[in-house]
């Protein structure tokens, strides 16, 4: 069933019927609404602003890291070895690679393929879970070497990493919810927007992951 709509009231640049987005509950109707819509949906704007706020949060963390670095006679302080480079970079590359299935899930959802979109999200979710598990192991390993209540370096190091991991965890929960919703319940305009929003969230978290790892590794680079 295609969604009903209204005609624009007077001559405008826009031809055709204005869709009633939330009445689109079949894959075909959702795809039609997605094609007809010109502006980004409200939910997308909401997520864009939310991730802008989160990016500012990380900007603050990174700025704090370098502020404390510039204040210190030695960075890291004596007794803490400079971070190893290889494993964190590989882990970050693995996380950033999940951008691809997230992007593909959006394309599939826009075209009306709910099952395919859910599978792409599921694939990303699997890799992200492996990434997070690995990062938690690395985090605990670091805690054995030095503790955040010992120095400002350790405080900002662990706080920045913990903030990043918390955002990855949130993203994993969002992915799980989205995959279940569209995999089981099918597509609606609302859920298409949800897929787009969660993908946007991941693009930004992945970009921030690169900045966080470069910050974390800056004494060794």
């Amino acid at each position: 069933m295609s969604s009903s709509g209204e005609h624009p009231p007077r001559p405008s640049g826009r031809a055709g019927v204005i869709p009633r987005s939330s009445e689109a509950t079949t894959a075909g109707a959702v795809a039609l609404v997605a094609r007809r819509r010109v502006a980004q949906p409200n939910g997308w704007w909401g997520m864009a602003l939310f991730v802008a706020s989160e990016a500012t949060l990380f900007g603050t963390l990174i700025a704090t890291y370098f502020y404390l670095d510039f204040n210190a006679p030695r960075w890291p302080p004596a007794g803490i070895k400079a971070p190893s480079v290889v494993l964190p970079l590989i882990a970050t590359a693995v996380l950033v690679s999940t951008t691809v299935p997230m992007f593909l899930s959006v394309r599939a959802a826009r075209a009306g393929y709910a099952g395919l979109a859910a599978r792409f999200v599921g694939a990303a979710l699997l890799v992200q879970c492996i990434y997070l598990a690995g990062q938690i192991l690395l985090f605990r390993h670091d805690l054995n070497d030095f503790r955040p209540d010992q120095s400002a370096y350790a405080s900002i190091y662990f706080t920045t990493l913990a903030a990043h991991h918390a955002h990855v965890l949130l993203g994993i929960l969002l992915n799980g919810w989205v995959a279940a919703r569209i995999g089981i319940g099918g597509l609606t305009t609302y859920r298409l927007t949800a897929v787009r929003c969660v993908a946007l969230y991941w693009y930004v978290v992945n970009a921030l992951a690169v900045l966080v790892v470069l910050t974390q590794l800056s004494p060794s680079l």
């Binding site: 709509g5 209204e6 624009p8 009231p9 007077r10 405008s12 640049g13 826009r14 204005i18 869709p19 009633r20 987005s21 939330s22 009445e23 609404v33 007809r36 819509r37 010109v38 502006a39 949906p41 409200n42 939910g43 704007w45 909401g46 602003l49 939310f50 802008a52 706020s53 989160e54 500012t56 949060l57 900007g59 603050t60 963390l61 704090t64 502020y67 404390l68 204040n71 210190a72 302080p77 955040p148 209540d149 010992q150 120095s151 400002a152 370096y153 350790a154 405080s155 900002i156 706080t159 929960l173 919810w177 609606t188 305009t189 609302y190 859920r191 298409l192 927007t193 949800a194």
Partner: protein, 633 residues
Amino acid sequence: MATLITPSAERHVELLEQVWAERQGVLGWLTTTDHKRIGILYFFTSLAFFAAGGVEALLIRTQLVGPNGHVLSPAAFDEMFTMHGITMIFLFVIPMTTGAFGNYLIPLMIGARDMAFPRMNAVSYWIFLGSGIFMYIGLVTGHAPNSGWFDYVPLASKQFDPGNNIDFYGYGLIFNGISSTAAAINFIVTIFKLRAPGMSLNRMPLFCYAFLAVSFSLVFALPALSMACVFLELDRQLGFHFYDVSNGGDPLLWQNLFWIFGHPEVYIIILPAFGIATSIIPTFVRRKMVAFPLVALAEIMVAFLGFGVWVHHMFAVGLATITTIYFAAASLIIVIPSAIQLFAWIATILTGTPIFKTPLLFIIGFILFFMIGGLSGVTVAAIPFDQQVEDSYYIVAHFHFVIFGAAVFPILGGMYYWFPKVTGRMYHEGVGKVSFYLTFTGTLVTFFPMHILGILGMPRRVYTYPAHMGWTFLNLLESIGSYVLASGLILIVVNLAVSLFRGPLAGNDPFEGDTLEWSTTSPPPPYNYPLIPTVSSPYAMWDKEDRELDNRRLARGEGLLARGHETPASTVQDAEWDEILHMPPHSAWPPVVGLTLTGMFLMLLLHHYEIAAGFLVAGGLALLAWHNKEYAG
């Protein structure tokens, strides 16, 4: 002219009345997602906090009425000035301007039927209420925050403030920040996407520009405050070392992070007031605003430049001039967009036909106070002068003129101006004018002498002073002024409260206003407009042809959007009609999320971290249930 409900239009309107019928009673208010009801909830809550902050101020002024005062102990005085600042900034002025005025008016001014995210709007309110109660639990239990509203370390560190006073503030600000961030995102998306078709960016009321500027500022400034508070609590609770020098930290880190938020915050306080002033002036001088594009850009530019001046709060800290010079330059230039607005308002009044009713009187008072506060601000943008008056009453004078004189006066004027629209009744004009003169005189007498006291050397935040300093007479004058001011404010509340029940009926448009909210009934129906208005300029009510076209359209039943709670969404720049959205009628989940977050922060304060995590999980589950009901895409 207001929209006419002719007999042929009535049956269309009846359909809308049925579709948009609201739940009554307490449950209706608890589960509301209607921006007007949420605005009213914000209004009364922030008014209650205003009263609390006002009592704190009167206690401060009573303590300082004479030398060697004994009304408050030093510790109690510290709590009073801290709570006064926290209450007035976070629990009164911002919720009142954004939550009350913004929520109520923005959808009406842009021709929409609700905000972009009505349920998130509701949760913003419940989180604000929770955070306010959370912080006041500290006061009631004798553990109020006590190291000033900017809470500098090391005074606020565990070593020097070991009780949980500071924790009420640190956690409370993170808590409150969630509400403001959500509200800001809501305003931006609403203003971007929900404008009536035809309301392109150059046809948007100036009030909306002010709120866009405020909202972007909130989104980008609050993270700095949240991180500063996270660092503080990590230092205090878990022994981290962000701010302690002996382990590589830096107290100036707090100052930088706090003021990166704190300066945009003061523009967040004043920009909605600018928006209110630019709404009231055209109506009461019967003239469109002079230099509309310049006023619009000035509002945005002040907010943008405001992110680059924060170190001017730290000129006396001992930073290198080669770093502070950037901030001195920006602090001087930021005067220009403020001045553009000031000159535009004055030019509009002078070239219009002023009708000196109460709302306009408050705006004229605002203009005068903004000039005084702005001028003292320019003086402290000069580093050498700032270093002389830093932490003296000169600074107290400056910020009270800009915060009270320039932010609160438009709020008071706006309360009078929109009272008829919200309640359907007219306030008493004579009493209104008396309340203005009392408030104006009280403000001047309370705050102007503070400039002199500051130059005479009286430091701020001192709980008393000796008799031989020569400060006695001016302090007495200020305290008398504060009682006069309080009486003016009480008279405003009495005027409006009595008029609510006994004022004459106001009609749709008692002042012949220029913006769309005056086209609908007073108070507006739940659906705001029977049809989506036709818009050709920022002064939609003064475009007679458009309003007549709307009456004809309504009679024909065009543009009703009555298949549920519908509102149009349009493109961002040119407001071309893009889709029709369906809005939620009500929801129980917002207050549930508010409750779980309050529980979480209380448990964090009491160091019950596992229970706090439990509340977080409960909140997450509530959000899942929330998103189970799908509305607009």
